[in-house]
Symmetry: C2
Subunit: 298 residues, 2 copies
């Protein structure tokens, strides 16, 4: 392992700890109804990998900014991610009882509480953004970015496509599947990266480059997810394995085969490394994150 | 009927039409998944009274601003209101099949679509705010206001209190009931008024005065709602009457009696008129709105 890689990993570990602390603080400050607060904490403080907020900090770092300046936008993306998981797990949606090895919010509490906890977490994301230590113009640009990435033209629209597509395995084209995931998971991963770019006042060129990197990363994340759903077991995964096939969801391996899916993943990895070359050593934490996405086992 | 009242009513009618047009336009622009867009339109373009956005415009007008300047924040409050109704109507929450005489979103579509439509409407509220024609500082203040009013410290927190209190009629104190409604419906009504104040760059004194007015109005709205649930029939109401009693919800008439509830309403009305006196003739539309709240039959 190279010295650069060791240093990048240590940096990501330190950021992970800082993100955990900041999330703890945000969830403690989100007071009101005790049961609702407990449900929101259950959803967020559950040992998540924090990939999205780490992407925000790593992007700000790659652009030469103190990554701690980008903490609030990083948290806002994680809160939207967290709310979406709570609602996705509901009986009317994916009907999942297990998430990261823990009971999902509607199991640990009840359905009504889970609906409200998701709602209030989305709201909290925008509240956190509004209090970010950036000038007002930048904060409003961040609000617009987060809203577009998570609404009907982004995450929610992708989730709806996913619901419509469920049960129609192999009837979907590869393009349709890529569009689905570009919205469902890709849009928020892209927003995580672009929050870092906004925070660091990146040039138009750097922003465009990072946007393409983020789109590739989102796609790689989903292909890896589909592969893991088949190859991993529930214990390692921390959620129910084989769920996609069982629910009749179209996946990359189902559509193009396992070998072609793995080849596509390798190709995306190369493209991402090429896109990051211009950012030099400062992009080492971003490279480390992309390796984790492509090689993760859970 | 005085000339001032006739003029104020005509003004509110014109604003109502302008709000409808602006909502139509916003919902047409919110493209992505067709089914999701249709569900969002079903939720929003359903002949609502538009009390909250009218409050925003009337407040801006009372402060001497062209009320059309306050349209975007007015719409953002209506979108949050609309999303909350979609989620409140879900089987796991109030389980309502009828809303304004129409099937609710989960009946007209399905539960998963209703959850996503509510989520995407909340997101849209913040997107609309981010594009408001105010300076960035004002827009960020509006984002913070809307988030605080609708999250755990506001509407969502109040809805959770309501769920916890259901089935415990008469065990609640009057103070607890007022707190519940100050959050559940009051916080968003207050935000509607304060959006107008922010839009018009109101002084600290005017803002404080308008905040108290809005808190009284929210309480009056809820007392009237409770009275109507008992005295009106489902046809006039456009939703299922007698639902509160059936679901074992605490109401003002249940707690302090019908006569005392009506007396309290009259007292609030007087207090609100006193609070508006300082704003002179420009507050005539606000007075007209408060009369509608206190005297409405549906």
């Amino acid at each position: 392992m190279s010295n650069e890689l060791i240093a990048a990993r240590a940096q990501l570990d330190a950021w992970h700890a800082a993100i955990q602390d900041a999330l703890d603080a945000v969830m403690l400050q989100a007071t009101g109804n005790e049961r609702l607060q407990a449900a929101m904490q259950h959803a967020i403080l559950n040992g998540g990998k924090r990939m999205r907020p780490q992407l925000t900090l790593a992007t700000a770092y790659a652009l030469g900014q103190d990554p701690m300046r980008a903490m609030q936008p990083a948290l806002s993306v994680e809160l939207v991610h967290g709310y979406s998981l709570v609602h996705d797990d509901l009986p009317a949606m994916d009907d999942d009882a297990l998430r990261r090895g823990q009971p999902t919010v509607h199991i640990a509490f009840d359905e009504a509480t889970a609906i409200l906890a998701g709602d209030a977490l989305q709201t909290l994301a925008f509240e956190v953004l509004s209090a970010s230590p950036h000038d007002a113009e930048t904060r409003i640009a961040m609000v617009a970015l987060l809203a577009r990435a998570s609404g009907i033209a982004g995450m929610c629209g992708g989730q709806m496509l996913d619901l419509e597509a469920t049960g129609h395995v192999r009837s979907q084209s590869l393009t349709a599947l890529e569009t689905l995931h570009a919205l469902k998971t890709g849009a928020l991963i892209r927003a995580a990266v672009l929050m870092g770019a906004l925070s660091a006042q990146a040039s138009t060129e750097d922003t465009a480059q990072l946007a393409v990197f983020a789109e590739r990363l989102g796609l790689a994340f989903q292909i890896r997810d589909d592969i893991l759903d088949i190859e991993a077991d529930s214990g390692t995964l921390g959620k129910t394995a084989g769920k996609d096939v069982e629910q009749g969801k179209t996946t990359f391996p189902a559509l193009i085969g396992m070998e072609a899916s793995k080849a596509r993943l390798g190709q995306l990895q190369e493209e991402m490394h090429a896109l990051l070359r211009a950012f030099g050593d400062a992009a080492e934490p971003l490279r480390c994150l992309l390796t984790r996405v492509v090689e993760r086992t859970h």
